[in-house]
């Protein structure tokens, strides 16, 4: 998909007076550019939204339905259009889901702004009324929301599946939704029930199998094989695991060194010494009863040599090498052990314990799984499988969205209906509110109320329904007080969307509204683009 061709507005500064005509032009150009971005992602909204194929400059191909990812890869240049991309990123950071929604709402609001501007309303007036709209909208949404308990697993799964339904992997939502819920709930710390750190959930991607084979592992998974070049064990029960940050290889000093060999016997002695040195280390390790070693990657020298691997194999120790330094914290947290940075500190109390460590072959490749960890930390690992890289990547992105949705619910325990119901209700209530406002504000609020109908409109359009018929009926139902009436995309009609189990966290909706208005206000207030150093 081609990025909208937005030519760079050429602004040569310093030489002349800037007349007002130019300002209108710049504002106009900004709005048009930003809307072009919004239109680009519009068709991927909703359960029947389409995917985009992005081929990056490096020739890599990505297929995705995730608004934030699409925009991120689009490489837009126009500053105002860039702000919409940023908007989507912020939504991703704040709520994780609704990244397309927020951009579509932003685009719709901008469209209304253009009409308002052309009828001669001052931008700051529009901006102020937008601010009021956003405050009011949050109130309306909060009033619509239903509280949810974390123990209510059903509701959580429902909202995760709503998020997953719009993705490529929607047919697996029955599998992925409970998985996401369990993963998040398992990392919630009872001491701090409002906080979830998604970094405690590790997602390991492995090519092969289908998405169906995706599983949650109570333990650790390494996307590496055990080093058994010398025939070491590949399965250890009652494992005692050590995470080491030193190297089992011949000594190397930080200062440059060279060994001077002057005759043949000396060479022999050196080789022997090397062997003894390594053997000594391994004996110390073995003495503590350790039988699984996780070795941190080292850039300075080899973490293990063939020689040390051989001795380790002899000692029946399973070795996983090249563990990244960043992962150490996650690993130690999970295994409830301490990293060991020096052989002298190798003590039993620093080891972690697990029932089983084994190498499992998946397709062509192998992974190492650690399960049955004693006193396991509050972390979890999800192993994502898929038949090709594109599917796996998309599955990971979708899973991330689902995880974020659950996280939102942990932070703010309210659910709201999906399927365009909140937007149409907002539109109705804001429309009513506009009538009691005075002056320009009332006029602006009314237009923005109409703008919010873009969500149900787009949902219907993407699902191949008649958008006008659907939106008008929806409006009608809401006017009669059915505030949870929404578009049932599967049946192609309007039903009570709460009964259909289409729900989403309140946080996603509120943050979409507040972020979109904040961004639109910023675009509105710009009257010039200045090229600088």
């Amino acid at each position: 998909m081609a990025a909208p061709a937005i030519s760079q507005p050429r602004s040569s500064k310093t030489e002349s007076y800037v007349d007002n005509k130019r300002k209108e032009d710049i504002r106009h150009a900004n709005i048009v550019a930003a809307r072009a971005v919004a239109d680009a992602v519009r068709t991927s909204l909703g359960p029947k939204g389409m995917d985009k194929m992005i081929s990056t400059a490096s020739g890599e191909v990505i297929i995705t339905n995730d608004g934030a990812t699409i925009l991120n890869k689009m490489e837009v240049l126009q500053p105002a259009a860039k702000m919409l991309v940023e908007l989507s990123k912020s939504q991703d950071a704040a709520a994780g889901d609704g990244t397309t929604t927020v951009v579509v709402i932003g685009g719709a609001l901008l469209k209304q702004c253009l009409t308002l501007l052309s009828s001669g309303i001052h931008p700051t007036v529009i901006s102020d009324s937008l601010h009021k709209v956003s405050i009011k909208a949050v109130d309306v949404l909060t009033a619509m929301a239903v509280p949810v308990e974390l123990s209510d697993r059903e509701s959580l799964i429902k909202s995760a599946s709503t998020s997953l339904n719009s993705k490529v992997v929607s047919q697996y939502s029955t599998l992925l939704a409970p998985l996401a819920v369990d993963a998040v709930l398992s990392v919630v710390d009872p001491a701090k029930p409002d906080l979830v750190d998604l970094r405690d959930i590790k997602i390991v991607k492995k090519l092969g199998g289908t998405v169906d084979d995706t599983e949650m592992v109570k333990g650790l998974v390494f996307d590496k094989k055990a080093s058994h070049a010398a025939g070491g064990p590949t399965r250890v029960e009652n494992a005692k695991i050590a995470v080491i940050q030193f190297q089992i290889s011949p000594p190397k000093t930080d200062i440059e060194q060279s060994i001077v060999v002057s005759d043949y016997t000396q060479m022999d002695r050196i080789l022997k010494e090397e062997r003894n040195y390594i053997l000594g280390m391994i004996k110390k390790i073995k003495a503590t009863g350790c039988n699984v070693l996780l070795i941190q990657k080292s850039i300075l020298r080899d973490a293990v040599t063939d020689l040390s691997l051989h001795y380790l194999a002899k000692a029946k120790i399973l070795v996983v090498k090249d563990v990244e330094r960043d992962e150490i914290e996650f690993i130690t947290k999970t295994l409830n052990c301490l990293p060991i940075a020096n052989i002298e500190h190798f003590r039993e109390d620093k080891l972690g314990h697990a029932d089983l460590v084994e190498e499992v072959s998946l397709g062509d490749s192998k992974i190492v799984k650690i399960t049955g960890i004693k006193n396991m930390g509050r972390t979890t690992t999800v192993l994502v499988r898929g038949s090709n890289q594109l599917v796996i990547d998309e599955a990971e992105r979708s899973l991330h969205d689902a995880l974020c949705v659950i996280r939102c619910l942990v932070n703010k325990r309210f659910l709201i209906a999906g399927g365009g119901a909140p937007e149409i209700e907002l539109s109705r209530q804001l429309g009513a509110w506009a009538k009691v406002l005075h002056g320009m504000e009332g006029y602006c609020v009314r237009s923005f109320a109409e703008a919010l109908e873009v969500i149900p409109y787009t949902l219907a359009e993407n699902a191949g329904l008649n958008p006008i018929a659907i939106v008008t009926e929806l409006r009608n139902r809401h006017a009669q007080g059915e505030i949870n009436a929404g578009i049932n995309v599967r049946k192609g009609q309007i039903t009570n969307i709460l009964e259909e189990n289409v729900v989403q966290p309140l946080l996603v909706s509120t943050s979409a509204i507040t972020l979109a208005t904040e961004c639109v206000r910023m675009i509105l207030k710009i009257d010039d683009i200045v090229t600088v150093r």
Partner: protein
């Protein structure tokens, strides 16, 4: 006979009328560029960088806009400079000063066209500026004695400053933040101890002031995540082995065990260093450089919280606020001043984990955490808040306060007008022009808000004929209002700086009658 060329080939020279025209036009173009950002309903600009990455900044801050412009015109550069100085000196009013200078020049241009000598104009401007300053001095209010009232003044000033920025919607919230932060400084203008941390996500309203210090770093693995009554050693030292820093230094050995010995010796040295550090009786160690795995483990064993790779800014501030010193040798534990704080803990803001030091030794310190939709919003919010903090910290020292909303300009204009009437000679034209330039500021504020400026300014002028009037432009309702009631105040120091530097800049540009552009230095032609 023709004179031979005096200047180099590519140098150019403009004289007399042409030179003056060139500088007038340049200065006015700059003033016009930033004019629309003035006032509570001023607009923003996008600054698009032509450098790599094509970064985009959205701003309303005059100094930021001007600082980043490509400017060729000499006179325009003068204006950019006064805006910079204004920014350094008082922090706010960076747009106003440029606009006022631009207006003064616009008036001067007309006078020059009417065949009044620039020197006469300058003399007139000087008299007028002096008179305007006196007019302000008579009207200032000083509430230094009354703490309650003074705090209220500060609140008002902060809100007035913020109302023209992106933070305007939440100005009360931010004004309170800024006032609290500045009052903690207890009169010092050292804004260093107010730390601003920006975290994307959530909305501006969720920004908060924290009475402590927040470091954007992680705690080492296996170390305590919470320490009470912390003793902190702030250091800048290499935590890998001490190397002989002579190029080509190497050791020669003849067996593997010797290499192992040397390695062990290196480890031992490190251990000694760590032991020395531990001997300071600390429970928190912050280093500017990396702490490698081995020392990290040693610290963890000793139950010490070690933070690695804190940036320069971070450790300097940390040393400042905890009252410690940055150490780099550890041989004399007695001579090193340790930092103290009541509690160190890990907190989460948005998605990130940060380290929070509360109950620090220096009570002045505090951290403002800004939250906002995107980086653009956050950057602009930081600039706005910085302006407010600058103005407030200046006001704490010079507590004289004026009303805002175009009120000071009208007061000045009235007195200057009177002066013009009693001044004999050509100078009176210049004085009159000065007054017109002053009135231009409320006019622009009204214009930016989309109001009928001619009508409003005329009303204002009529109001100001009365003694003790507090009328100014109320942009929100679009009418003339009582500034004292609306609580719109400005610091006297800012206004005075605007007046004086704008006059000086205008004077300087007026004096110019020849521009000599030197031949550019030869260099590679690059984009």
């Amino acid at each position: 006979m023709a004179v031979e060329r005096i200047l180099k080939d590519e140098a150019s020279e403009e004289k007399g009328e042409r030179a003056r025209m060139a500088s007038f036009v340049g200065a006015m173009a700059i003033a016009d560029l930033v004019k629309t950002t003035l006032g509570p309903k001023g607009m923003d600009k996008i600054l698009q960088s032509t450098g790599r990455g094509r970064e985009v900044t959205v701003t309303n801050d005059g100094a930021t806009i001007l600082k980043s412009l490509h400017i060729d015109n000499a006179a325009a550069k003068v204006l950019v400079d006064i805006s910079k100085v204004q920014d350094d000196e008082v922090g706010d009013g960076t747009t106003s000063v440029v606009v006022l200078a631009g207006e003064l020049l616009r008036e001067a241009e007309k006078l020059v066209a009417a065949k009044i000598h620039p020197m006469t104009i300058i003399a007139g401007y000087r008299m007028a500026a002096e008179c305007a300053r006196n007019a302000l001095l008579q009207k200032v209010v000083d509430n230094k004695e009354n703490e309650e009232k003074f705090k209220l003044d500060l609140m008002k000033i902060a809100m007035t400053t913020l109302s023209s920025k992106i933070l305007s919607q939440d100005k009360e919230h931010f004004a309170k933040l800024a006032v609290d932060a500045v009052l903690r400084l207890k009169g010092s203008t050292n804004l260093e101890s107010i730390q601003i941390i920006k975290k994307p996500g959530s909305s501006l309203k969720d920004s908060f002031l924290d009475e402590g210090f927040i470091l954007d770093k992680k705690i080492g693995i296996g170390q305590p995540k919470r320490i009470e009554n912390a003793k902190i050693l702030v250091a800048n030292t290499a935590m890998d082995t001490d190397k002989v820093k002579i190029y080509g230094a190497r050791v020669r050995v003849d067996s593997m065990s010797r290499v192992a010995d040397i390695e062990a010796a290196e480890k031992q040295k490190m251990r000694e260093k760590v032991d020395k550090i531990i001997a300071h009786g600390i429970n928190c160690f912050v280093n500017r450089q990396l702490i490698y795995n081995f020392p990290e483990e040693l610290f963890a064993n000793a139950g010490i919280l070690a933070i690695e790779h804190a940036d320069f800014d971070g450790i300097e501030r940390l040393a400042l606020v905890t009252g410690g010193e940055i150490a780099s040798t550890f041989d004399n534990p007695e001579s090193v001043k340790l930092g103290h704080c009541k509690l160190i803990e890990e907190i989460m803001i948005g998605e990130d984990k940060l380290i929070h030091f509360s109950g620090v030794a220096m009570g002045q310190a505090c951290t403002i955490v800004l939250r906002g939709a995107s980086h653009h919003v956050l950057d602009e919010a930081e600039r706005s808040l910085h302006d407010a903090l600058c103005v407030l910290s200046q006001t704490v020292n010079d507590s004289r306060v004026l009303l805002g909303g175009g009120w000071p300009e009208m007061v000045m204009a009235r007195d200057v007008d009177e002066l013009a009437r009693v001044t004999p000679g050509k100078k009176s034209h210049a004085i009159e022009a000065f007054s017109r330039a002053l009135v231009a500021i409320p006019t622009i504020i009204a214009d930016n808000a989309g109001l009928d400026s001619a009508e409003l300014v005329a009303q204002l002028r009529a109001e100001h004929q009365k003694e003790g009037c507090a009328a100014g432009i109320d942009v929100i309702t679009g009418s003339v209002g009582d500034m004292a009631e609306l609580g719109i105040s400005e610091a006297f120091k800012v206004k005075q700086a605007i007046l004086l530097s704008a006059t000086e800049a205008a004077e300087m540009i007026l004096r110019v009658d020849e521009i000599i552009t030197c031949a550019p230095r030869r260099r590679e032609d690059r984009m």
